[in-house]
Amino acid sequence: MSEVQLKEPQNQILKDEEALLLDHEYDGIQELDHPLPQWWLWLFYLTIIFSVFYCLYYLTGWGPTLREELAVTMQEIEAKKPKAPEGGEATDEVYMALLSQPDRIKNGQEVFIGKCAACHGEQGQGLIGPNLTDDYWIHGTGRPTEIAKTIREGVAVKGMPPWDGLLADDELMNVTAYILSIRGSNPPNAKAPEGTEYPAN
């Protein structure tokens, strides 16, 4: 057993603080009594004043509710939406015509690498999804509009996602055209044919 004497605190007190030191001590801890910092007080007042006005505005029914604000924004967005797809529904010919536009094919390829290659292979040779370069089709007969439809609606049951809404309309067209463009490219490691054969003509 040893007895410990409680010592007077040995705190370091700065010159300008001596007058502010309180006559009190807890386990050696002393306290100064600096006034509240002005900037701090003002920060506090400002947040309170702001809050009062904010509440007055929003809590008394003066300001719009969040749902009203949303409705306004949504109407603005609706108004900006293009009314109908330009030029109506694309026909097979429209897709075939895209084949001669390298920038659209190139964009189609980018989309394909980004979104489709994981399942269809970098060159469309087929992985989880079927080979897209051969003459065999599970859905439709290989006509451009049919391919576009499959892409848009997907085959969710078999793991082919629906891309409508996920791809912009022109991206959808471009990737369809890209698939047309790689037809018959005979990539290495091609997956065995699935579906029915519809020779390209």
Binding site: S2, V4, D27
Partner: protein, 732 residues
């Protein structure tokens, strides 16, 4: 030599000793559980960077270990640290031993038992899914009991004190003890349906509000007020400097305690929570900046004049940086509570950055500073190596910075991408996974930052271990002498607050009153649920199978990655469908609004895909969504659905006011089996797999397909709400 101040000299001088053994115990627990909390956090972080890292083990999946990580960090690491600091400082500030050594031990072992129970049950999926209140009801009861033991012991000690006035640290401890009790009890009112499952009495909006009132104030009164108390003790002790301003202590203590409790709804901005509650949550958060900064000022300016010492003394470095992080987090928090900032930051990694600034910087570093101070002091030796402590400081600081900067970047990047709308009113990034892929590199960076922090922590463990070995082998009990406290005879010229500091019961009652004002004003109206949610028959209660699926969803912790709350924001509405209405979750016990979108919102996923899609997706998310980082759930295809308990579950739900008929209750099990068979037969026809109907996957699919399927709710919504009414209708 004078014994204590002569003014008490008419009193008897008493001799006493301090119980430092209990402090040692809590310190050891802090270090052990800290290691566990950080390690589990690192594993969770790595799983987001690479989904394979749950090794296909159910109890290691993200949804189960994320709650384990948060609970371990808050209640095991921070909790034990708080207790170590409180037991050490309270005895000294009161000049008395703890009231009861036995209660101290019950508190210690009871708390460790709670932690072990949590560490076993959470990975098993036994959870209420309410954040930081996940533990099931038997553990809730145990927590209540242990907390009462702690409170009795603490207030008993105050009663025995030999110092008339309570120092500011003790005010913060009092606020902590009473508020945590109120929060825990109110948020944990639940009805058991089995030994390890319960449903909360609150549903939907109510549950959300009560939960985030709790959740936010767990941060306030478990991670803030006790640590401020520790700061008020250890900073002046380690610095040998007086506290900067007593007046500031008073003002910031009371304003902090009064205002904090209102701020909970800032976790629910733009949700289905009524606007007025959101507005209150926002403004009270803003008003919190000054009270919080009061603490930071008092901490930092106490170091006035000795900054050269801070540069060389690792303890002070840890403490100073902790207080700085406190200041930073308490500025960031109010900013995130501004509705328009929350629109961007909520549900993203920005919030993760925010909490880790607080947890790693403020709580972690303050704890480390305290340990570096306490271990040598208690073992009566010098710290083994200041150099190692400095190394710890720098690795830790760099770790935190990498962590929060990467998560800020991730959160802001993904937030902007998800809300981006082009000129023609379309989402710029309609594919959710694309936004995820963008941030995966940042997940690696975060894991790296966390690893650094963990390495620093191990350096500390080594350093403290070596320090312990330097301790003199023979331990002497130290005796202290102080006069007994004379019966209250306040000095005539005492100021009112000074007087209050001598009146423990009055002080405590005032503290309780301060936190009750905000609580009652916000929660009470919401409990009268009919104010917001007319009782209506537009929302169908869950079928028995859907309920079974819902419980699986809760068990797997899907809510740790998926929200079910479409906010009143264009980006949300265009992506997911009409903004969620309060009615939609009126039967949701517990609510599943979520707090983080690592995956897309699921509020209206019902009917978006065919059953077969979910079947494949849950078995292997990459098969339907290439590059997905969602874990696979193969065990749902093995485990059998718990049909037998459905009747009891329906009974409880009915008792809680869900309009099930007696017949539905009686037939719960049979009807669930029937529904399961229907779904399984269809899937079986396509997959060729037989006897699927008893598997959990079927119940889960039933639940997922049900989400958002309340078309009647939207019948009389005006077309004026334009895009907000487009329900995501079934493609099947």
């Amino acid at each position: 030599m004078a014994t204590e101040r002569e003014k008490h000299s008419e009193n008897v001088i008493e001799t006493f000793s301090y119980d430092d053994d209990i402090v040692k115990k809590f310190m050891l627990a802090t270090v052990v559980w800290g290691g566990v909390a950080f390690l589990v956090g690192l594993v969770a972080a790595l799983q987001l960077a690479n989904w394979r890292l749950n090794l296909g083990i159910s109890w290691l999946t993200f949804g189960r270990i994320r709650p384990l990580h948060t609970n371990a960090a808050i209640f095991a690491f921070a909790g034990n640290a708080i207790f170590a600091g409180i037991y050490y400082s309270t005895q000294r500030l009161c000049k008395t031993r703890m009231w009861s050594d036995v209660l101290s031990r019950i508190h210690f072992w009871g708390w460790q038992l709670i932690i072990v129970a949590a560490a076993v049950t959470l990975p098993l999926g036994l959870t209420q899914s309410k954040e930081y209140a996940e533990l099931e009801w038997p553990i809730d009861l145990l927590i209540t009991l242990v907390w009462v033991v702690f409170a009795v012991n603490f207030f008993g000690t105050l009663r025995n004190r030999r110092e008339r006035h309570m120092y500011v640290a003790l005010w913060f401890y009092i606020a902590t003890i009473v508020t945590v009790a109120v929060l825990h009890i109110v948020n944990s009112i639940e009805i058991p349906v089995g030994w390890f499952q319960s449903y909360p009495v609150y549903a939907g909006v109510q549950d959300a509000l009560v939960q985030w009132w709790y959740g936010h104030n767990a941060v306030a009164f478990f991670l803030t007020t006790p640590f401020l108390g520790l700061m008020y003790y250890f900073v002046p002790k380690a610095a040998n400097r007086p506290i900067y301003s007593y007046r500031l202590s008073i003002v910031h203590f009371w304003s902090l305690v009064f205002i904090y409790i209102w701020a909970g709804p800032h976790h629910l901005l733009h949700t289905a929570l009524p606007d007025w509650a959101q507005t209150l949550g926002m403004v009270f958060s803003l008003m919190l900046i000054a009270p919080s900064w009061g603490g930071m000022i008092n901490g930092l300016l106490t170091l006035r004049g000795i900054w050269d010492k801070v540069r060389t003394e690792p303890i002070l470095k840890f403490l100073a940086v902790a207080v700085t992080f406190y200041g930073m987090s308490t500025f960031e928090g109010p900013m995130l509570s501004i509705k328009s900032v929350s629109a961007l930051g909520h549900y993203t990694d920005w919030i993760i950055a925010h909490v880790h600034g607080g947890a790693l910087g403020w709580n972690g570093f303050l704890t480390f500073g305290m340990l570096y101070y306490l271990v040598p002091k208690i073992f009566k030796t010098e710290l083994y190596s200041k150099r190692l402590a400095n190394i710890h400081f720098w690795i830790g600081t760099i770790g935190i910075l990498i962590y929060i900067i990467s998560m800020w970047t991730s959160g802001i990047t993904q937030g902007l991408m998800l809300q981006a709308i082009d000129e023609s009113g379309r989402l710029v990034y309609p594919d959710f996974v694309e936004t995820v892929l963008r941030i995966v590199p940042l997940y690696w960076a975060r894991a790296f930052g966390g690893t650094l922090y963990l390495i620093g922590f191990f350096v500390m463990c080594y350093n403290l271990w070596r320090t312990y070995q330097l301790a003199p082998k023979t331990e002497k009990v130290e005796l202290y002498r102080a006069p007994k406290l004379a019966p209250a005879a306040p000095a005539p010229n005492e100021k009112w607050h000074r007087r209050l500091e001598g009146l423990v019961p009055t002080f405590t009652v005032l503290a309780i009153a301060s936190i009750l004002v905000g609580s009652v004003i916000e929660i009470l109206p919401t409990l009268v649920i009919h104010t917001y949610v007319e009782s209506n028959d537009k929302v169908k209660p869950y079928t028995a199978l859907e309920l079974a699926g819902r419980d699986i969803y809760v068990r797997e912790g899907c809510y740790t990655c998926h929200s079910q709350m479409i906010r009143t924001l264009p980006g949300d509405v265009i992506r997911y469908g009409a903004a969620s209405m309060p009615e939609e979750s009126m039967y949701d016990r517990p609510f599943q609004w979520g707090s983080k979108r690592t995956g897309p919102d699921l509020a209206r996923v019902g009917g978006k895909y065919p059953d077969m899609w979910h079947f494949r997706h849950m078995l292997d998310p990459r098969s339907t969504s290439p590059n997905s980082i969602m874990p696979a759930y193969p065990w749902l295809f093995q485990n059998k659905t718990d049909f037998a308990s459905l009747r009891r579950k329906f009974e409880v739900m009915k008792a809680l006011g869900v309009p099930y008929s007696d017949e539905e209750v009686a037939n719960a099990e049979a009807s669930a089996r029937e529904e399961a068979k229907r779904i399984a037969d269809n899937l079986g026809a396509e997959t060729g797999i037989k006897e699927l109907e008893s598997r959990e996957i079927i119940a889960l699919i039933a639940y997922l397909q049900r989400l958002g399927k309340n078309p009647a709710l939207f019948e009389d919504v005006k077309v004026g709400d334009a895009g907000t009414v487009q329900q995501n209708e079934a493609k099947d």
